[in-house]
C-alpha cells in the first residue's frame, strides 16, 4: 500500500508538473494579452514532435534545448501574423481564432507524423529505475521534475529581476499605463506569447518521453490547465503554480482509492473554488471581473 501511494504521489507530482508548465504559459498569455490560447496544447504537441524529428541528428539533449526554442519562434510568428490583429476586438474573436488554429495545428501534426502514437527515445541513463525497490521511479521522472523546477524558477527569476520581466508584470496590472510610459507593448506581447509557447514546447518534449506522441496529446492537458488557472487564481502566476500542483496531486491520489473519479475531483475542485473563493486560492480581488 505504501508503495502504491508513493507511486501515485510521484505520478501526481509529474502530472502536476506538466499542468504547471502548460498553465504558466497559458497564464502569461492570458494575463498580458487577454487571450485564451486554445492552441496551447497543440504547441505542446508540436514541441514533442519537433524533438522526435530532431533527436536523430541532434541527439536527445540537443532536441530538448532546440525544440522548445523552435516552438517559441513559431509562436512568435503566429502572434505577429494572426493573434495581434485581434487584441482590440471582442474576446469572442480571440477564442475563435486560437480555436481554429488548434484544429489546423492538430491536423498538420496528423498529416506529417500520422495518427498513431510514436515513441520518443530516451538516453539510456534516464530510462533506468533509480533502485530495485523503487522500480517504478525511473531517473527520467526525477529528471522531468528537476527540469520543471529549474524552468519555473528561471521564469520567476526572469519576471522578477529583468527589465522585460518587470514590464510584463507591470503590463499585466495596467497595460495602458505601461504603454503611456513609452514601452512598446506590441513587442512585449509578442515576446510574452513566444515565452508561453516555449514553455508549452518544453512540456511537450518532456511529456513525449513519458507518454509518447500523438496528434492530440495536448488536449488532455488543456482543460486541467484551465482549471489550474481558475483554482490558483487568475492573474497570479504563483497561484497557477500551486493550482497545477494541487490538481495534479488530487487527481493522482484519487486514482489510488477510486480511479474513475480522478477527473471528477478536478472539476469538483473547480466548483468548490468558484463557490467558496471566486478569486481563486491566491488570485487578486477583481482580476476575474
Amino acid at each position: 500500500m505504501a508503495q502504491v501511494i508513493l507511486f501515485n504521489v510521484t505520478n501526481g507530482l509529474i502530472i502536476g508538473a506538466f499542468y504547471v508548465l502548460m498553465a504558466l504559459g497559458l497564464s502569461l498569455i492570458l494575463n498580458l494579452s487577454n487571450v485564451i490560447n486554445f492552441a496551447h496544447g497543440n504547441f505542446l504537441a508540436l514541441g514533442g514532435y519537433l524533438a522526435y524529428a530532431l533527436s536523430p541528428t541532434l541527439g536527445y539533449w540537443g532536441a530538448l534545448v532546440v525544440s522548445p526554442l523552435l516552438v517559441g519562434f513559431i509562436g512568435l510568428v503566429v502572434e505577429r501574423l494572426m493573434i495581434r490583429r485581434i487584441y482590440n476586438r471582442d474576446p469572442v474573436y480571440s477564442l475563435l481564432l486560437t480555436f481554429g488554429l488548434a484544429f489546423v495545428m492538430q491536423d498538420i501534426a496528423r498529416y506529417i507524423w500520422g495518427p498513431n502514437g510514436l515513441p520518443l527515445g530516451l538516453p539510456a541513463v534516464l530510462a533506468q529505475p533509480i533502485s530495485n525497490n523503487l522500480f517504478f521511479i525511473t531517473w527520467y521522472r526525477i529528471f522531468m521534475v528537476a527540469v520543471v523546477i529549474v524552468s519555473v524558477a528561471g521564469l520567476f527569476a526572469f519576471l522578477r529581476y529583468t527589465r522585460i520581466g518587470l514590464r510584463i508584470r507591470a503590463g499585466t496590472l495596467d497595460l495602458e499605463t505601461v504603454a503611456t510610459l513609452g514601452i512598446n507593448v506590441r513587442h512585449l506581447r509578442t515576446f510574452n506569447f513566444a515565452v508561453g509557447c516555449f514553455l508549452a514546447g518544453l512540456s511537450g518534449v518532456l511529456a513525449a518521453g513519458q507518454i509518447g506522441l500523438n496528434p492530440n496529446m495536448g488536449d488532455d492537458l488543456l482543460m486541467p490547465s484551465f482549471i489550474a488557472i481558475i483554482v490558483g487564481g487568475v492573474g497570479s502566476l504563483i497561484g497557477t503554480l500551486f493550482g497545477g500542483l494541487l490538481i495534479g496531486m488530487a487527481a493522482a491520489l484519487t486514482t489510488v482509492f477510486y480511479p474513475s473519479a480522478s477527473e471528477a475531483v478536478i472539476y469538483g475542485m473547480l466548483m468548490a473554488v468558484l463557490l467558496l473563493r471566486p478569486r481563486g486560492l491566491i488570485g487578486e480581488e477583481g482580476m476575474m471581473s
Partner: protein, 326 residues
C-alpha cells in the same frame, strides 16, 4: 461607441423587415421541395434547424447581452442526454422527454450561472468552458448509464398523441422535419418576444454600456444571470431535438468543440442579428457536410474557416448586409 448606439434601432428594424421574414419562412416551409435539387437531404435541413436554434439561444447571451459563453455545448448535450435517458429508462413519450431534457439543461445552466455572473470577458468564457467539460467527462466515464464513449443508444422518438389524431414522427422525412420546424417556430417566437420586451431592451443596454446601465439602477448581474439561464433553456431545447433527430446522444454533443461551432455559426451569420445564427448554422452545416465527404483533413478546413471568419469577416453575413443598408 456612439455609432453603435444609434445603429441599434436600425438593426432591429432590419431584423423585422417583413420581406426578410417572409423570405425566411417561405424558404424553411418549402425545404423538402428545393433541397434535393441542391444535393441536400431533409435530415440535413433538420440539423440546420437544431443547430440554428442552439446558436440562436447562444446569441441571446452573446449577441444581445454581450456576454461570451464558450461552453454552450454542455446545455445542448444535457438536453440531448436528458431526452435520451428519459426515453430509454423512464417513459416512452416524446413530449415528456423534451420537457425533461430542456429542464435538465436549463436548470444546470441556471445554477451554474449564479456562480459566474460576476466574471466578465475571457474569464467568464474560461469558466463556462471548464464547467462544460465536466459533463463531457461525466457522460464519457459513466459507462453503464450513459453508454460512455459510444454514446447513448436504444431509444427512439415516439409518436405523439393529440387525442383526436396521432402524429407519427418515428419515420424521418418530411413529417419529422415539419415537427422540428413547428417547435423551432414557437421557440423563435418566444425568443423574439423576450428580446422585444423591456427586459430584452435592457439586455441590449447592458451590452452597449454596462457601466451606464449600472448607473441607471439596472441590476446588471441579475439580468446577465437571467439571460444566461434563458439562453441555456433554448439551447437545451435544441439539444433534445438533436437527440430525437438522431435517435442517439453522444459525448461529442457535450464537447467544447461543439461550443466553438455554435459560436462560429453565430459569428458567420452575424452576432447582433436575430436570424444570423440560423443562417450561420445553415452555412456551417452545409460546409461541414460537404468538406467531410471530400477529405479526411476536414479539421484543417474547419479551422481555416474559423481563422478566415475572424480575420476577414467578423461582422458576419447579416451584419455586413445591414451596414451597407444603413
Amino acid at each position: 461607441m456612439s455609432t453603435a448606439i444609434i445603429a441599434a434601432p436600425e438593426r432591429r428594424a432590419a431584423n423585422r423587415h417583413p420581406l426578410m421574414l417572409i423570405a425566411i419562412w417561405a424558404a424553411l416551409l418549402t425545404v423538402p421541395l428545393w433541397l434535393p435539387f441542391l444535393g441536400g437531404y431533409t435530415a440535413l435541413a433538420g440539423r440546420v434547424l437544431v443547430f440554428g436554434l442552439a446558436a440562436m439561444g447562444l446569441n441571446l447571451l452573446l449577441g444581445f447581452t454581450g456576454v461570451l459563453s464558450f461552453g454552450h455545448a454542455a446545455y445542448f448535450g444535457l438536453g440531448a442526454y436528458g431526452a435520451g435517458l428519459t426515453l430509454r429508462y423512464v417513459v416512452h413519450s416524446t413530449p415528456v422527454a423534451m420537457l425533461a431534457g430542456t429542464l435538465l439543461g436549463g436548470l444546470a445552466g441556471t445554477l451554474f450561472g449564479l456562480l459566474i455572473v460576476h466574471r466578465r470577458g475571457v474569464y467568464f468564457a474560461m469558466c463556462t468552458i471548464a464547467f462544460g467539460q465536466l459533463w463531457y467527462y461525466l457522460a464519457y466515464s459513466w459507462n453503464s448509464f450513459t453508454g460512455g464513449f459510444d454514446g447513448l443508444r436504444d431509444f427512439h422518438r415516439e409518436p405523439i398523441g393529440f387525442g383526436l389524431f396521432t402524429l407519427d414522427i418515428t419515420q424521418g422525412g418530411n413529417t419529422f422535419y415539419y415537427f422540428l420546424l413547428a417547435i423551432f417556430a414557437v421557440a423563435a417566437a418566444v425568443m423574439g418576444l423576450v428580446l422585444r420586451s423591456p427586459f430584452g431592451r435592457t439586455l441590449i443596454a447592458i451590452r452597449e454600456n454596462e457601466r451606464r446601465a449600472r448607473f441607471l439602477g439596472i441590476p446588471v448581474e441579475q439580468h446577465i444571470w437571467l439571460s444566461f439561464s434563458i439562453s441555456c433553456f433554448f439551447t437545451a431545447l435544441a439539444g433534445t431535438l438533436y437527440a430525437l433527430l438522431n435517435n442517439f446522444a453522444d459525448p461529442m454533443a457535450l464537447h467544447y468543440s461543439l461550443s466553438g461551432y455554435f459560436v462560429v455559426m453565430t459569428v458567420i451569420g452575424g452576432m447582433r442579428t436575430f436570424w444570423g445564427p440560423l443562417l450561420g448554422a445553415a452555412v456551417f452545416v452545409m460546409l461541414q457536410d460537404y468538406i467531410s465527404s471530400m477529405t479526411v483533413n476536414w479539421m484543417s478546413f474547419i479551422g481555416v474557416i474559423f481563422i478566415l471568419v475572424v480575420l476577414f469577416f467578423p461582422r458576419g453575413l447579416l451584419g455586413t448586409r445591414q451596414r451597407s443598408a444603413s
